[in-house]
Amino acid sequence: MANRVAICAVAQTKFEACKRDVRTQGLLWEVVKDVRAQTGLDFGPGGIAGAVTVSDDVFDARTISDGAVTDLVGAHFGSEEKVAADGAQGVYYAAATVLSGHHDVVLLAGHCKESQPASRNMVTHLAFDPFYTRPVGLDYLCAAALQAQAYMARSGVSETQLAEVVVRARQWAARNPVAQETAAVTREEVLASPMIADPIREKFMYPVSDGAIAMILASETHARRLTDKPVWITGLGNCYDSFFLGERDLAGNFALERAAQRAYAMAGVSAPETAFDLAEIADQYAHQLPQYAEGLGLCPEGCGGRWLDEGGPDRQRVNRSGGMIAGNPLILGGLARVAEAVIQLRDEAGERQVAHAQRAVAQGATGPAGQLQTVVVLER
């Protein structure tokens, strides 16, 4: 059984609003080829022994969506497991596959084209039950709006502060070659964007996005062979909150706090405010940046507004990738955060590089208003 697991290679497509000339399989193949080239790995014995894929049936409009990509990940006559949740859960699953001794080298590969359904909201509406929540029209967007309203009411975070979150995200995204929304935007432009579901304005939302991500995870012995810059996964944690929105503290971080505690306990992190050289937060919506920063312990509970005003995101080097709000599809938001952490810890982030980065935390969320939270601690 392996006692350490490392991410040995990462590849991402550019994230775009509509990749109409590439099939989902084409997207995935681009990144799978890339991580194979980086590591020299082939499929089969001595190479990629197993795969974890990340995809969503409804976004792909077919059940068992991984069935459409098994040939791309070496799973014919081999092994493959699908994660139908945020790809940060895929990292968890792939790491467990290695740590359990099941496979020494695992390919993790996720894809999503949010542009293919007529509306992303129609997809997320189907995540709700047909008796109590679908009839009143729930989807992830209005769930996030209820979360935003609750969080802003309790924390006092203003829409002007959230507009600054978006302005900053675009500035960093412009230095990330795979980021989608890279055009500079002013605070006034953000605040003038239409209200979609109070208090969420159009520019407080992540854009509809297409893309794919792949990684190679390996046990220590194999990692040393595959790369001279392994990035170790030293902490993993996750936690589910209740299904019904009314039964959660939407202004708080019940699930994220627990996920973080579990990951931090594994990694030996006791003071998260100062423990990390960088943090990557899956901010699908602008309010989630300060809210989830609180949940990750980057600032005290209830202090997200002050954290924004006092330059917390810059001081703690949060979302130099531009964040999810710059554009990643739903199930790749957390996986893209892990990918950025790896790129930073490998000292390969170019213009947005955090100097001397040693340890990072990355977060991903699945489900309405961040129901399932996943936290990953990574170290070089």
């Binding site: 009143v136 729930l138 209005c142 709006a145 579901a197 929105l245 009314g246």
Partner: protein, 160 residues
């Protein structure tokens, strides 16, 4: 590439979802009696609406302790939905609120009609308006409306 070929598709699958024994009892009471039922956890004291078989917090069996809660309650959160989707219960803009019914501990999401959506407030007292023709889902309550005279005093859920 401008000539990429696209297949137009549509996923539609007629489907019967079974509500189960606990859900059926709730939905039938709502549809036929205009009564809102919940279950109380005898260990942690929570009254859950909609009801369920076991408590997610302490794993106690819940269905021995049915209660009837009020059709009045209080807004604990809300949003104004301004975007249009085909599955929405009405034409936007409309208020989607979290409403804690008197006697229940778990707010439910439902529509709030209060005139101008800008009038919606946390703490607003509301009452259920039942639909004339009721089906066995949460829209047997057509929406909630403001109940300015309502108070939250003295509501303990009636045991069944």
């Amino acid at each position: 590439m401008n000539d990429a070929f696209v297949i137009e598709g549509k996923m539609a699958l007629p489907y019967q979802y079974f509500a189960g024994a606990v859900g059926s009892k709730f939905l039938v009471a709502l549809r036929d009696e205009k009564q809102i039922l919940g279950v109380r956890c005898s260990r942690c004291g929570m009254v859950f609406v909609p009801p369920r078989q076991s408590c997610e917090r302490c794993f106690s069996a819940l269905t021995e302790h049915w209660v009837r809660v009020e059709s009045t309650g209080e807004v604990t959160g809300f949003t104004v939905v301004r975007y249009a989707e085909p599955y929405q219960p009405k034409k936007p803009p409309y208020v989607l609120a979290l409403i804690k019914l008197d006697g229940a501990d778990t707010p439910i999401a439902h529509l709030l009609e209060c005139g101008d959506p800008g009038r919606a407030r946390i703490g607003m007292r509301v009452r259920a308006v039942f639909a004339g023709e009721r089906r066995a889902n949460l829209l047997a309550i057509a929406h909630f409306e403001e109940d300015p005279a309502g108070t939250q005093e003295g509501h303990s859920p009636a045991r069944l």
